[in-house]
Symmetry: C2
Subunit: 556 residues, 2 copies
């Protein structure tokens, strides 16, 4: 805890303060915007940006993680609360806090139980599909606010402001950094400076609304923002804990995935080591803290963390600086913020989430493994059609389904001897010697419940095709583990082969696999032998037979 | 379809007819008992034993599978219908049919989509835990009927009849076969004869009730059984299709698991080959047929199929004989059946499901892999506490969780050269040469989304412990597949190692893995080399360095 503080060096200070200021400038528009996505008053997004980063600084292990509101988690919050309360109602805000408490407790419990490995259930293409679907869902959800009315209608001043803001942000993303660089700024500073465009836009749009009295012309603005720090309290609605539990589990799961994938990418660049279980605890505490200070579910945001990293953050002091600046903004007069036009806030949301899209993962998967690419697209489609919770569940099912499918069809090869050598290779690829009485089968996969049937089916086919076979040698050189189901599969196989007059042998069993097998009854029951090498098996089993012949199919 | 009929031989006939008769004698008490478990009138259990085996005989691929009511599926039926209708009501019976239709459609769809591999999602210990929990749930559910009242109270005549029946059945199971054998019956015939004890008990108990007028003394009897064949029809309740869909998915899944695991065990003994997708279609058709003829969800029953096998069934003609005998029983006067006492039926249920218990799987798992044994116990507990649907979901989660957990911690070894050879072994187990500039890491598992993090973390540790390292060689001799997530992991690793001045190399890449990698950008981007063997990598990378030394830790 606070290891960064004990080892703090003076020369870290400039980088940390600078990065803290930059991230605070990003956090103000983002926090308000993501509160809007969650269906909450914009000021709650500022509340959720103060206590969570402080708690993360106390407990977390990443030097650059920026914890606070995040688009996808806000979307999940909105979809969890929609069936239970009306957005804008005080019950809705109460339930948002309750949801953050529960998500926090889930994360803390996972940290204590050390089950961080559960995050490994999501494959990367499926995670990408989930992000893709969520981004599009969020962007689509902002179109009405952007245009000031539901399409095909629009409210001209709102639409002008919203679309103008989108254009400004896209142009800024594309051209602001090069412009700053040409103006003499160092490249890193130019990149970071370009991330301040949303804050600039907020200030400019407030001025514009004030000058042109756009609010009187029907442009929606966020309205009075209560000044002062959030009160520490926990409003709660007793009968809603249970219905919030399932969404809280999903939000906890996704929060952790999102935070870890971002933090890990940055940690690798600096050879930092993250502690999974402490990260879980830190995110859990951040969520509980958010709930107690009037906020909603939060997590680490890759976009802010990356800016924090690029702006030179050395330690979590940067996060503390950000939190203090946000608190300062709330203590100062907030009256001017009332005129911030909602279409502009929608524009920042749309540009931010579309910036999360990347097509590289889809392109690479498509070329490398079509099944993974289809899982990506199905998950994205699932989020769009079934909603974000359905998308998570579908994504989980597809991740695991694709893996079981791949592993349930392992590569297997019938082996023969390359004449004059001790090498044994696939009879379909090489001109090899075989013996009709001795079948050598190599299985190229860990044996587990998912492929027991496939191995048995292949052996049935082999025995049907080789009625003279009296010995079956399983060559286990590529078998790294054998789980309990596969052990039972081997015991069954051993018994039925015995009834049919075929001896079962094993060869090239790896050390750790052999250690386990010794704890089972297979080793003592086995009527065949366990050979150190395939060559030993071949020599011992073909010695009694004299009808060795070249494999006729490939010998030519 | 009907392949067995086209190739039928006269000498099959005696075995088929004999087995068909024996199974029919088992089916009559079992069918009525499992209808009771499902919360339905006993006669529906007889209906569910006629059309399903006929359709299975038409479409199925197992010669000995006996399709009809089955304990666990009946329990799942009861738990699916309980929230929707009162047991005994006509809506309840209608919904039981609807559930069978949906389960049948699910199975047919799975057969058409060829997704039989999905059955591989359940590991064997988890399946055993599921059976264990379901059996105990069923047995506990029968205690009230067995005693004629809820414990601690009991109804003396009912309890005497029920407990007497349990004692008779247990004694018959233990002693009847040896007795028959001693009386001169051949062993196989004696074993089969002993399975007729429940039918004998039914007849004796009806006589007893009639003689002693036990029904007038408060012993519940099944009451009038409508004579005649079931009418082909489909009663339906439009608004209940949707709530039945999820239980139908689970029932379809479990039906298939139960039927396949039983049929496969028997098929192996006769070197028969089952066709997964045709089995799915046959079970689907059997369920739809059951629904249309007044029945409820059915599946293959291992206990009946094993008796069918032992009694000498050669083809599905045995199933046809069973179905015709059941139909015959319904055409004959059924008035006498009205006096069948419910406590006796409960006794047959309790003894049948307790007979499904086996502790061998638990014992073997406990010795072989504690995690699998705990998954077994957790699944059994889950069924008892959460109910059978919760148990299926928990079992799925545990099967997959245990696998991901196992695979997310793969065995990895840092390698060194055994001096004077081309062999490279684990530095922790062997006295080997190492080079501080060259790290050779062998990963003993397929690389996939579940272990990307573990591999990265190990590499981080290695680089921290060997600051002089300039080359990292991943030895992929045990890597059978690399999925898309792992490919991205390698690309990320490659980039971050490059930034830190460490070259990434690969060695001993398997053919199929290399084929896939060529479709990715890794091969062209790689700043290191792809070496055919670890020895090649060692020679090439250590040539430029002169500080080879013995590994000091183990060299002694």
């Amino acid at each position: 805890m606070l290891e960064w503080l004990r080892t703090y060096r003076k020369d870290y200070l400039a980088g940390d303060v600078g990065a803290g200021v930059v991230v605070a400038m990003m956090m103000i528009p983002q926090g308000m915007a993501y509160a809007l996505v969650a269906g909450l008053p914009p000021v709650t997004g500022l509340y959720a940006s103060i206590v969570p980063p402080l708690l993360y600084a106390l407990l977390g292990t990443s030097s650059t993680q920026s914890v606070g509101p995040m688009a996808i988690v806000s979307l999940m919050t909105a979809s969890a609360l929609a069936p239970l309360a009306a957005p804008g109602s005080s019950l809705y805000a109460t339930l948002a806090g309750q949801l953050a408490i529960l998500a926090g407790v889930v994360l803390l419990a996972c940290g204590l139980l050390r089950v961080g490995f559960l995050a490994n259930f999501f494959s990367r293409p499926v995670m990408n599909g989930f992000t893709l679907g969520s981004s599009l869902t969020i962007a689509l959800g902002q179109v009405d606010t952007l245009l000031g009315a539901a399409p095909p209608r629009w409210h001209a001043p709102s639409a002008a402001l919203g679309l103008g803001a989108v254009a400004f942000l896209l142009l800024a993303r594309r051209w602001l950094a090069p412009l700053l660089r040409r103006a003499g700024a160092p490249p890193a500073a130019a990149d970071v400076g370009a991330r301040l465009a949303p804050m600039l836009l907020v200030l400019a749009s407030v001025a514009l609304v004030a000058l042109l009295r756009l609010d009187a012309r029907g442009v929606h603005v966020i309205g009075a923002v209560p000044a002062g720090l959030p009160q520490l309290h926990l409003a709660q609605s007793g009968q809603h804990w249970l219905p919030l539990l399932k969404p809280a589990l999903l939000i906890g799961f996704v929060s952790f995935l999102v935070a870890m994938s971002g933090a890990q990418a940055l940690a690798l660049k600096r050879a930092e080591k993250l502690h999974t279980d402490r990260e879980l605890a830190a995110l859990g505490a951040a969520n509980v803290g958010s709930a107690l200070s009037g906020g909603f579910p939060v997590t680490g945001s890759l976009s802010r963390s990356a800016v924090n990293f690029a702006a030179g953050a050395n330690t979590q002091l940067a996060g503390v600086v950000t939190a203090l600046l946000l608190a300062g903004a709330l203590v100062l007069p907030t009256g001017w913020l009332a005129l911030l036009p909602l279409p502009v806030l929608s524009a920042t949301i749309i540009v931010a989430v579309l910036g999360m899209l990347e097509w590289h993962t889809l392109r690479t998967s498509w070329a490398y493994d079509r099944a993974d690419a289809l899982a990506l697209l199905a998950t994205a489609g699932g989020v769009l059609v079934l909603g974000v919770e359905g998308g998570v569940v579908l994504g989980l099912a597809l991740s695991l389904g694709a893996m079981i499918w791949r592993e349930s069809r392992p590569h297997m090869a019938l082996l023969g001897r390359i004449p004059g050598t001790e090498h044994f290779r696939n009879v379909e690829r090489h001109a090899v010697e075989t013996d009709p009485r001795v079948l050598l089968l190599r299985v190229d996969a860990a044996l587990f419940f998912g492929n027991v049937e496939a191995v048995n089916a292949r052996i049935e086919d082999l025995l049907a095709a080789h009625p003279a076979a009296r010995h079956l040698v399983l060559v286990l050189s590529a078998v790294n583990t054998i789980d309990t189901s596969a052990l039972f599969g081997l015991l069954d196989l051993h018994q039925t082969l015995g009834q049919r007059g075929v001896q079962l042998h094993l060869a090239e069993v790896k050390g750790p696999v052999m250690d386990r097998l010794r704890a089972s009854s297979l080793v003592e029951k086995l009527h065949g032998h366990i050979f150190l090498s395939t060559a030993n098996a071949w020599d011992a089993l073909t010695r009694t037979t004299h009808d060795c012949k070249q494999n006729p199919d490939v010998a030519g």
